[in-house]
């Protein structure tokens, strides 16, 4: 017991960093997972949406009000991009996964290039809002206040997403459509409209994740692919179309990248894909994939 407390104390900073990182990943992964589960589309432009959110933080943040402006701008941008992506995908909805993934890949490159033209290729640092600067004392450790805020906001977002999808009628429709889209349609529901809503909500979440992630990440063109790969791993680990899975997978990957790297730095390069390989060996459908199988 004593030694566990000692271990926790020694690694508290890494663990908290892992939680913050995991929750940021969740905002990104949940949309990716739901869009894949619902539309069978691997949205490779999802990382670019996150990146544009991060640039909104760079553009507008500064003081507290600036941050609010950045959040609003990012959410509006996310909704528009999500709607635009659905519209772009509609004409090729009958084609295979590859065609659709390639279209989103092309859109991702375009968005990434736009970001690079507007904001350049340098690493941009985003200051946290003034009232969240400095550090807070947590059982004897000084911890950046902004990261604590990321954890609190990330948990609130996760709670809200869970409530939306597990406790509302719209959420039930989405979960049903993830299971059997044709059947939902045969019950009189316009699944196309549900798809637009999920794309918009998922993209808005990713853009929001970009804003709150701005001050803790190095914002640069390239961040989009980094977070996209991580989010894809989260989706694979958590199980397609599962919110709980995205949450568990994101927190797991957050810890692997933070605590894991702190504990066994010599294995840092292998931990990420190692964790994915282990999960896939034990549960090929992902941690929360397909409850019925």
């Amino acid at each position: 017991m004593e030694s566990l407390v000692g271990w926790l104390d020694a690694n508290l900073i890494s663990i908290l960093n892992g939680v913050a990182r995991g929750l940021l990943l969740f905002t990104m992964a949940v949309g990716l997972s739901l869009i894949f589960g619902l539309a069978d589309v691997l949205n490779l432009a999802h990382g670019a949406v996150f990146l544009l959110g991060a640039y909104m933080a760079f553009q507008f943040a500064g003081d507290g009000t600036g941050f609010v402006v950045a959040v609003l701008a990012a959410v509006v941008l996310g909704v528009l991009l999500g709607g635009g992506l659905t519209a772009a995908l509609r004409p090729i909805s009958g084609r295979g996964h590859l065609d659709q993934a390639l279209l989103t890949l092309g859109i991702a490159f375009v968005l990434s290039d736009i970001a690079s033209i507007v904001w350049g290729n340098d690493f941009r640092s985003v200051p946290p809002p003034a009232f969240l600067r400095g550090s807070t004392n947590i059982v004897g450790h000084a911890y950046p206040t902004y990261r604590l805020a990321v954890i609190v906001v990330g948990l609130a977002i996760a709670g809200a997403v869970y409530a939306l999808f597990e406790r509302t009628q719209l959420g039930a429709v989405v979960r049903a459509a993830v299971e059997d889209r044709a059947m939902v349609s045969a019950l009189g529901i316009n699944v196309g409209r549900v798809l637009v809503a999920v794309f918009a909500i998922g993209s808005a979440l990713a853009a929001f994740g970009g804003v709150i992630g701005g001050p803790v990440l190095a914002v640069n063109p390239g961040l989009d692919w980094e977070v996209l790969i991580l989010a894809l791993i989260v989706v694979v680990i958590g199980g397609l179309g599962s919110i709980k899975g995205a949450f568990a997978g994101a927190l797991l990957i957050g810890q692997v990248q933070s605590l894991g790297v702190a504990l066994v730095p010599q294995l840092a390069a292998f931990l990420l894909f190692g964790a994915m390989a282990v999960v896939l060996l034990v549960r090929p459908e992902g941690l929360f994939g397909d409850v019925t199988a």
């Binding site: 009628q169 059947m183 045969a186 019950l187 009189g188 529901i189 019925t292």
Partner: protein, 236 residues
């Protein structure tokens, strides 16, 4: 008199396979039409094509005078056709309440069927309302599929093998429920392999072979003519 559902010359393909080859079929009045046929002759394909889940390549599906061929399933459902699909297809991860809620949400206009009324008709579901689809028995799933279809306030039901995989006692329960709906005056197209079960409900019998309807008679005529059943269906 024109029937509520008039299918004329309906064709559909799976790739190059000509699964429906000009189907003509009427369902209407207050009758139950039983559709028989061996495995693979296109019965479920016909149901899918009428429901819009498979796009017909030619032909017409008129419902209450309105052309629905080629319309998406949600439009066809809202026009008043309720589907109880093959394999039941209840949403496994959703509770009974949520399964029914989705159907109720989609239904427009006057609410002849409410969740309460469905629970009255199918009391077994009321006991299980907090359970998820995958926790239900086959019979309960079938009841749920029926209740879900009813919440769309259908004026016509498409029932695709509702007795499939169920124990005889449960099949009796299903027949009882369907008989009640028949008494309510909801016409139905009942696709079945279980002839005995279907004949307890059917007013009219139609038989399909190789993508076409080749026989149509009243249930009484069909019963009196065992030779037809033997040659077209391979049963005694």
């Amino acid at each position: 008199m024109t029937a509520l559902l008039e299918v004329r010359g309906l064709s559909a393909h799976y790739g190059v396979i000509h699964a429906l080859q000009g189907v003509d079929l009427d369902v209407g009045g207050e009758q139950v039409v039983a559709l028989f046929g061996r495995n693979g002759v296109g019965k479920t394909t016909l149901v899918s094509a009428v429901m819009g889940m498979l796009r017909p390549t030619s032909g017409s599906v008129r419902f209450d005078g309105r052309e629905l061929a080629g319309a998406p399933p949600h439009v066809i459902a809202r026009a008043g056709i309720g589907l109880v699909p093959q394999g039941r297809r209840v949403f496994a991860a959703l509770t009974v309440e949520e399964n029914l809620g989705i159907a109720a949400r989609a239904a427009a206009g006057d609410r002849a069927w409410t969740r309460e009324r469905v629970y009255d008709l199918l009391p077994r579901l009321a006991d299980r309302r907090r359970n998820r689809g995958h926790q239900l028995s086959g019979g309960e799933q079938q009841m749920l599929a029926i209740g879900r279809a009813l919440l769309g306030n259908p004026r016509l039901l498409l029932l695709d093998e509702p007795s499939d995989g169920l124990a005889p006692r449960i099949v009796d329960d299903i027949v009882e429920v369907l008989a009640e709906l028949r008494a309510e005056g909801i016409p139905a197209l009942l696709v079945e392999q279980n002839l005995g079960m279907a004949l307890r409900l059917a007013d009219v019998v139609a038989i399909m072979t190789k993508g076409q309807i080749v026989y149509r008679a009243t249930a009484a005529e069909f019963r009196a003519d065992p030779e037809t059943a033997r040659t077209l269906l391979g049963v005694a």
